[in-house]
Amino acid sequence: LAKTTQPISMDSYEGQEVNITCSHNNIATNDYITWYQQFPSQGPRFIIQGYKTKVTNEVASLFIPADRKSSTLSLPRVSLSDTAVYYCLVGAYNNAGNMLTFGGGTRLMVKP
């Protein structure tokens, strides 16, 4: 599995756009990039997944540069309810032997 590095914590204010960057220098050709969100006392929830360029859904956007060695999760106009831990995962999930391993994540605090 490609190792990922993300900031331990970030602070933001309501209404701002938040960008969380994840580094994955040894990403493999077959690897996808997946982001999860976790609230206290709950299991993580899938947010978005991408392979290259840009992916957008109703919750977030994911930007992946051409070399795929990093990715940026973008949360538009955050609210207090977006306070959570955000995890970046990299792997080829169609492989039977691929574990779903979470790192430390980024703890996002949204302030009023």
Binding site: T34, P44, L89, M99, T101
Partner: protein, 111 residues
């Protein structure tokens, strides 16, 4: 809404007791996972399964054991609970796309 269920939600049990944490999913997913997480701490993978009769240990050593006799069922057992086993245990399943669905978790307290 994800169809994956864990029981019990909360469990307080004495040292030395045998416990089984239940996890069931109705999505037909081949891959299932067990994680252990203490409050405010990292999520650690302790067991996973690719399908029926396959189980593997995760990246965190655990005294628990698992079984996968049916696709939908992935129970976790502790033969002799100790206070060090006090934690939250989360079960997840996936079709192998990288999108996993998590249960509500079991908060275990061993006294």
């Amino acid at each position: 809404e994800a169809d994956i269920y864990q029981t019990p939600r909360y469990l307080v049990i004495g040292t030395g007791k045998k416990i089984t944490l239940e996890c069931s999913q109705t999505m037909g997913h081949d891959k299932m996972y067990w994680y252990q997480q203490d409050p405010g701490m990292e999520l650690h993978l302790i067991h996973y399964s690719y399908g029926v009769n396959s189980t593997e240990k995760g990246d965190l050593s655990s005294e628990s054991t698992v079984s996968r006799i049916r696709t939908e069922h992935f129970p976790l057992t502790l033969e002799s609970a100790r206070p060090s086993h006090t934690s939250q245990y989360l079960c997840a399943s996936s079709a192998g796309t990288g999108e996993a669905f998590f249960g509500q978790g079991t908060r275990l307290t061993v006294v």
